[in-house]
Amino acid sequence: MSIALLIWSLALAQVFLALAMGAALLRILRGPRAQDRVVGLDTLYVNAMLLLLTFGIASGGTLYFEAALIIALLGFVGTVALAKFLLRGEVIE
């Protein structure tokens, strides 16, 4: 009973997170200016990381956790580099 509930809620959470990724992708495609697209990219990688965490719960392994950790690290670096580029016109001064 509770295992079936867990499986259904895992599926529901994956659908919700995929919809959230779609919303962030629409903002990237539509965003009127460059900073809107950067915020959309930031949201997209956080949502992808959460989706990987739910995959990890569903599969029971630790491999998905490591992928999510790397996405969190590299996504932060990428967003900061893009924001620095918007601020200064170059990434490394």
């Binding site: 509770s2 959230a20 959460l50 739910t54 950790l69």
Partner: protein, 116 residues
């Protein structure tokens, strides 16, 4: 679904509730990012996903794996700490960049006092 059958009922229930709550919060935040009007309003919405969404889903993962392996499995705290620390840094740099660009082009509707 290997080994999920021996998960205790309370752990399955708590994991299910936390997963759905976290995913719903993330979806609300992303829809806010899509629907709000100006850039400075849109910036607030996805933080719902980075705080509540990440916290709930990582807590669900911790509870599920701790109950499965009957020992504390706490490495998801790394993701929570990383996201909680990096999100304000990212958003502050982005807002500075957006303010700089808007003031350079003297767009209307920029919050705060005018650039000197």
């Amino acid at each position: 679904m290997n080994g999920m059958a021996e998960l205790p009922a309370w752990a399955a229930l708590v994991t299910a509730i936390l997963l759905v709550v976290g995913a719903t919060m993330t979806l609300i935040g992303s829809l806010g990012l899509l629907r709000l009007n100006s850039f400075y309003e849109r910036l607030h919405a996805p933080t719902l996903g980075t705080t509540l969404g990440t916290g709930c889903i990582a807590l669900a993962s911790m509870i599920c794996f701790s109950a499965l392996q009957t020992r504390p499995v706490l490495h998801e705290i790394l993701i929570v700490v990383l996201v909680t620390v990096t999100t304000p840094v990212t958003l502050m740099i982005l807002v500075r960049a957006a303010l700089f660009r808007d003031r350079a082009e003297s767009t209307s509707g920029v919050p705060g006092r005018d650039a000197t």
